[in-house]
């Protein structure tokens, strides 16, 4: 589920206007900003996002440079002109360094869990005193 493709990277390197355009597009599609809980342990940070109506395979989690982007489409809602959100879009600036290769995401019963393992240099370490 975690992917970084070349196009995304290129896009991320372009101006901020591109980002704004993407957000405007999301709003036009009646996407909303999902509510999240975020917690941190010594070794990882975890983002839990409420994405009701989203099926597995309809969510994209991307990490572009220092940004985590969550984008998801809720099944059938656009087609049925639903008054509920048609999808979800939100991005976060990551200030901590993470081990990008091990970022993982899982969707269950309408909740997305993104696990971001901290880079070794950021981990809390207990030093034993001799």
């Amino acid at each position: 589920m975690h992917r970084i493709d070349k196009d995304e990277l290129r896009e991320a390197q372009q101006s901020t206007a591109t980002r704004e355009e993407r957000e405007a597009r999301a709003r036009r599609r009646r996407y909303v900003r999902p509510l999240v809980d975020i917690y941190s342990t010594g070794s990882e940070m975890v983002v839990l996002a409420d994405l009701p109506g989203v099926q597995k395979g309809a969510v994209d989690v991307t990490v572009e440079r220092d940004e985590l982007v969550i984008e998801a489409k809720a099944a059938d809602r656009a087609e049925q002109e639903s008054t509920l959100p048609w999808g979800y879009y939100r991005r976060f600036r990551l200030k901590t360094a993470f081990d990008r290769e091990r970022i993982a995401a899982a969707l269950e019963n309408g909740i997305l869990r993104v696990t971001l393992p901290k880079a070794a240099s950021e981990q809390t370490r207990k030093v034993s005193v001799d």
Partner: protein, 166 residues
């Protein structure tokens, strides 16, 4: 309960959109988190729902991510559908520190007024992808109606989700 989505064509008010845009600018996450704007679900009710008129009655969707069907009470009384339960507050596992807590928790009760009578005995509710899907056949349409076999429900097949009493 009023629907929150009547205010604009996009389903949300311009103000909410503006707040989203502004908040997005400050969506910074770090271990030493700095949040300049309080994290609230601006103007959003919990749980969010939609009522739709269908050929043979009504359909109500209620967004309850993370909850199991058996954790939700569904009852029909007259022209009122009640969906209630409790969404537990999320606690981070051992030693974890919450940086942000926006997702709603606690007791909830949603009352939906139905435009006409339904056949309370025939009401069926199932959970899918964090959304409760309630089918309420109209009382007239329900008369002499054969029992449909649900298709596409992967797991929990429909125990009758509602009771005529309550």
């Amino acid at each position: 309960m009023e629907k929150e989505s009547d205010s604009s064509a996009s389903g949300r008010g311009a103000l909410a959109e503006f707040k989203d845009a502004v908040t997005n600018l400050f969506d910074q996450v770090s271990s030493q988190v700095t949040s300049l704007i309080p994290d609230l679900g601006f103007g959003r009710e919990f749980p969010n729902h939609e009522l739709r008129v269908e050929d043979d009655g009504y359909r109500v969707w209620v967004e309850l991510p993370g909850l199991q069907r058996e954790e939700i009470d569904v009852s029909v009384s007259g022209r009122s559908l009640t969906v209630s339960g409790r969404r537990p507050r999320f606690e981070p596992p051992g030693g974890g520190r919450m940086l942000r807590s926006e997702r709603p928790s606690g007791d909830f009760e949603l009352n939906v007024r139905l435009p006409s009578d339904v056949d309370a005995v025939a009401v069926v509710a199932q959970m899918r992808d964090g959304v409760l899907d309630v089918r309420l056949p109209g009382s007239k349409a329900a008369r002499g109606r054969s029992i449909d076999v649900e298709e596409g429900a992967e797991t929990q097949h429909d125990e009758p989700g509602a009771h005529a009493d309550a």
